[in-house]
């Protein structure tokens, strides 16, 4: 028995957007270190992105990632398969083989790169219907963002950094919604970052198109003003946008236009961040800070309730990822005990060196977050215990 007075019980969190970097960049993160970071952050399932080395574009690679996740056992690791071979955008990968493998892949994404060719995107959307899959799109017009470094606007104009215009995201979101409608398939749009994308998603849903969308904690909290420090910790793709965009994203999460919160946890080795802005890699850590940021920007502001958080960070992502037989379940007798207990009054200050990830590229160093997961249970087994609960499961 645990005395959970004052704690919030959520179904175990499900991240639809995690980079675990294994195989290939074990210097930045491994399935083990990423799993530990996930458990500490309150997650019981993560979807591992395909942009590893080698790329997860075959049944062999996705099975390896899936098995390694099971072996570690801290979190269920569900591999996402690449849409195209080598993420090159030219030939469809063997999505059927990945779907029918042990890893039972249902989501496919070239994340990091957009599936840019409209014919390839159309074929992918059609093809995944055969096994009830979905295409998960990183919406970015490649031509409009060549060399892009940050949001194109007043700050980029002043800083002299090449701009990543909002239209480069919005045009692809609109195109893909229309393609999904045309072929009667399902598309999930990653890391929505602009007010315009929100309007397009709202329009598409109103039209009955089978589209879902995610927002990241960083796009709900930070703006392009952060780039004034030229600190590459704030360099991310899609970029941090304006306060107007942040406000639109928060409103869209609150009204259900945006279905889920996903981290886009993107570990990078220090040499890929400790350099000039233009030379740095895109991306930031997110697994351990997501819950605290969601509480800060949505719950504590009154924009959402903890019930909404259960939907946004567990039930809806489990459904979109087709893992809702095991995750995002009701907190009821007979259900798998995948449970996250949150202490919304356990404020903490983010210290990069204390994070479980191998990389240290959090943009939140020194920031205080209002709460955190204090207990994470995966099928009844504690995968994360705040020190004050140690012994509770002895």
């Amino acid at each position: 028995m645990i005395d959970a007075t004052g704690l919030v019980a959520l179904p175990g969190l499900v991240d639809l957007h995690t980079h675990l970097r294994e195989p290939g960049r074990e210097d930045a993160e491994t399935i083990e270190t990423g799993s530990r970071a996930a458990a500490r952050g309150g997650w019981t399932a993560v979807h591992a992105m395909a942009n590893t080395t080698p790329v997860a574009d075959t049944a062999g690679v996705v099975e390896q990632v899936w098995s390694r996740g099971q072996e570690i056992g801290l979190v269920d690791v569900y591999p996402i398969g690449a849409v195209t071979v080598g993420l090159k955008g030219e030939h469809l990968s063997e999505m059927g083989a990945m779907a029918h493998s042990k890893a039972r892949v249902r989501l496919f994404s070239d994340d990091g790169v957009c599936v840019y060719d409209p014919v390839i995107m159309r074929r992918a959307l059609e093809y995944v219907k055969a096994f009830d899959g979905a295409v998960v799109q990183h919406a970015q017009d490649l031509r409009l963002t060549e060399g892009a470094q940050m949001h194109e606007g007043e700050v980029s104009a002043e800083l002299g950094l090449a701009g990543w215009p909002a239209v480069a995201e919005e045009s692809i979101v609109a195109r893909d919604a229309l393609l999904a409608e045309h072929v009667g398939s399902r598309v999930h749009v990653q890391h929505l970052s602009t007010a315009g994308s929100v309007e397009i998603i709202r329009w598409a849903k109103g039209r009955g198109i089978n589209v879902t969308a995610e927002a990241t904690p960083h796009h709900l909290l930070l703006t392009h003003e952060e780039a004034r420090t030229y600190d590459p910790l704030f360099k991310v793709n899609p970029p941090l946008r304006t306060q107007t965009d942040v406000d639109a994203l928060r409103a869209a999460v609150a009204d259900g236009t945006i279905d889920i919160i996903a981290t886009d946890h993107a570990p990078h080795a220090s040499e890929d961040k400790d350099c000039e802005w233009a030379a740095a890699s895109f991306g930031m850590l997110g697994l351990e800070t997501a819950l605290g940021i969601v509480q800060k920007v949505l719950v504590d502001t009154g924009a959402a309730t903890w019930r909404d958080v259960a939907r946004l960070m567990s039930e809806a992502p489990a459904r979109i990822g087709s893992v809702d037989d095991a995750h995002g379940r009701p907190l009821a007798a007979g259900e798998p005990a995948n449970i996250t207990l949150v202490d919304p009054r356990a404020a903490w200050t983010v210290r990069p060196e204390d994070l479980a990830s191998r990389a240290r590229n959090t943009p939140y160093g020194g920031i205080e977050l209002p709460g955190r997961a204090v207990i994470t249970l995966l099928r009844g087994v504690p995968t994360h215990l705040d020190p004050r609960f140690e012994g509770a499961f002895a």
């Binding site: 980029s156 104009a157 800083l159 002299g160 950094l161 030229y230 350099c275 000039e276």
Partner: protein, 317 residues
């Protein structure tokens, strides 16, 4: 003043102090012995990640005439083929005991990172970072304008003057530096550029924008006309402008356009020029042209900047 990174950081008072000090430095350069003992024992490193012989020798001359020891450090490397990291280079310079680092870099923000990365203790002087800032260029431009257009220059600002900056504003650190400095000094700035070569998001900039040089000459009495260098590669293959010929027709400075300046109007260019593209030989070599003088003033302005960064700290300690 600890570092000189961006003209946006300069107050009117800072800017006038820099210009007045440059005036004193320029006066010393008329003497038979031009070398001053001011920075004896100080080490100035010219750290160039991007080739620019002109800027490097200007800083080198400035530091040497102040008797500083000068080390030239050419660190090649682009965003594609990374050489030694900025951090390691900075740590190396720190270990060598650099009192000031003059940095030219292909990446916007590199000078800011060097100054604020906690890697080195010396002063950082930005000699051009990507498409961001090149503060000593703007200071030498202001110095040149003040000499020619203000009757009693010492202690004065540029209030009442109108300066037009013509060309590739999008990729220009010279334009960005000048817009803020000229505004701080009270001048009115008119940017003249095709819409493709203007950054999205310049609404807050303290300047006005017109889209042809003829319109600028018609609607403003321009005291100083600054032509920016245009890179030909920006005009080919789906580029920013249809052709060099069209650019010259709409934005080039020729004798006819030059004749529409007021009598006292001066013509400037940060160099190196593309004669026949943004400026005709006739304009470049005319009596209105102060382009060669800009180069000479560059040394005086850089002497002033090094002096205020390095000699100033002794007074404080």
């Amino acid at each position: 003043m600890r570092h000189l990174l961006s003209t946006r950081d300069l107050s009117r008072e800072d800017a006038i102090t820099l210009l007045d000090t440059a005036g004193q430095m320029a006066a010393t350069q008329e003497r038979e012995v031009r070398k001053l003992p001011t920075l004896r024992g100080k080490t100035v490193v010219n750290l160039f990640f991007e080739d620019s012989t002109r800027t490097r020798i200007s800083f080198e001359a400035a530091a040497k005439r102040l008797s500083a020891d000068v080390i030239n450090f050419s660190a090649k490397g682009s965003s594609v083929s990374k050489g030694e990291s900025l951090k390691d280079t900075a740590l190396t310079l720190q270990a060598m005991g650099a009192d000031a680092v003059v940095v030219r870099h292909w990446a916007s923000g590199a000078a800011y990172q060097l100054a604020h990365g906690g890697w080195l203790h010396g002063s950082v002087l930005n000699a051009g970072d990507g498409t961001h800032q090149h503060p000593t260029q703007a200071l030498l431009d202001a110095f040149t304008m003040r000499r020619h257009l203000v009757s009693d220059p010492t202690g004065a600002d540029l209030a009442g003057l109108t300066v037009a900056i013509v060309g590739d504003v999008l990729h220009s650190r010279v334009a960005r530096s000048n817009v803020y400095l000229l505004h701080t000094l009270g001048a009115r700035v008119v940017l003249v550029a095709p819409p493709t070569l203007v950054p999205v998001g310049i609404e807050p900039w303290p300047c006005t924008l017109v889209h042809t040089l003829d319109e600028a000459l018609e609607t403003h009495e321009i005291d100083a006309l600054m032509m920016l260098r245009v890179q030909r590669e920006r005009m080919t293959g789906g580029g920013f402008f249809p052709s060099p010929g069209e650019y010259t027709r709409l934005y080039g400075l020729d004798a006819d356009r030059m004749s529409r300046l007021p009598d006292h109007g001066i013509v400037m260019h940060p160099g190196p020029m593309n004669r026949g593209l943004e400026i005709s030989a006739e304009a470049a070599d005319s009596s209105r042209s102060v382009i060669v003088e800009q180069v000479a003033n560059g040394v005086a302005v850089r002497m002033a900047a090094l002096y205020l960064l390095l000699a100033g700290e002794e007074g404080a300690s």
